[in-house]
Subunit: 231 residues, 2 copies
Amino acid sequence: MPEVIQKTNCTNCLFKSLVFNKLNDSELDFLDQFKIEKIYQKGEIVVNEGDTINDFLYIKTGLVKLFKTGLDGKDHILSVAKPQDFIGFLSMFSNTNYQYSIATIENSTLCFINVPALKKLIENNGVFALDILDKMSLAVDGILDTRISLCSRNLRGRIALLLLYFSDEVYHKDEYILPLARKEIAGLIEMTTENVIRILSEFRHDGLIEMDGSEISLLNKKLIEAISTAG
Amino acid sequence: MPEVIQKTNCTNCLFKSLVFNKLNDSELDFLDQFKIEKIYQKGEIVVNEGDTINDFLYIKTGLVKLFKTGLDGKDHILSVAKPQDFIGFLSMFSNTNYQYSIATIENSTLCFINVPALKKLIENNGVFALDILDKMSLAVDGILDTRISLCSRNLRGRIALLLLYFSDEVYHKDEYILPLARKEIAGLIEMTTENVIRILSEFRHDGLIEMDGSEISLLNKKLIEAISTAG
DNA sequence: TAACAAAAATGATATATATCATAATGATGT
DNA sequence: ACATCATTATGATATATATCATTTTTGTTA
């Protein structure tokens, strides 16, 4: 359960330009009545697969994973999402219930916006509607790209891709703490836990990375990129 | 090149209810000025990767494939699309150029609708905007589901999934003519051409299917479904 | 119809990946 | 501080898949 629930003001929100830049002040005021902000610790469940979709979720800060538990009991991670990834748009329009679960993998602040209220704004503001379509389209492009390139890569290529993803897209640093356990990585890039561990060790032996538990530092990014492309 | 170009009338179109059911007659008349219909033979290129996106593409009849040519020279099929799949919505909003190529794999009739005209309608008709969001969302859900389940299946499972896809989603029959060559199937479900052939032969030897060239008939659907689920 | 090219088919072999077993390490609760 | 459990780690082996080589079939064109 989120520990803190905040009532903040959309018009003053640092992030409004990222999501709601096509709305005017009175529209933002309207939205204020229908939104709530929650602060989560790392590792908390935000929604469970099957839950009714009442709110559009927006990640203000932090990192979450979208996942499904398969018939084999293993978790499959559909996507890791960070601020501006607009994962909330994904099944909000096509389904009444979540097709996946969401959990935080970093301390995160999420904004919950009532779906009917949001739909009313879309209906009444055509420019906003087009903007939402743009953002949704971009989000989808990204997820599809990642998924397809995962399928056609070998294990080393997938690990390389993952390391680069966290370095380039999430932390913007060559050193970072992997927010996912080896087992979770396995579920994200569709391989066994043992092979995740094995290949990370391989990369260390080959001088590509330094590694202490979940602390990772990329030593030879050029080569990692080459492996990611060639794989 | 498409052999025939037709000027038809949206208001009388059999398919308008599938795509444009939220538009009134005057809006449909407006659209008429900005659309064109083309008839393609099987195997024709509709758009090339990198082409400027000028039109929203709607599949009236037939079957197309969306594909990219990889660095290795092999084609990777992103998706096979049939009427009502609304693939045209995919990167229309997020990109000015196609991120993939499109070719017909059956004789097909496609409708080309000018993008700025369509956007104007979206901007002016909020209910239509929400409807487009719904359809786009559904299209994406489908593609993602397929992709993710492909990644986590073994070769036999993937072939089973493919056979069922054409049977259940496309032809609605247990006998059909595979519209894709073995090599294309390989590019669609990420395996080698040899293994596609081998596993299809295996399925025939095991009495799961009958096969003569591209004529396929599913003999034991229950078992094929089991293989698809278990794989 | 012959001649050719492409696709389909099959087997042998190499490589990549998963599975199983076992140990070391680290975290958690008592 | 100890027992317990999950995670990380590594090796041995089995299995799945890709690659390479060769033949057969099919379709196309002269």
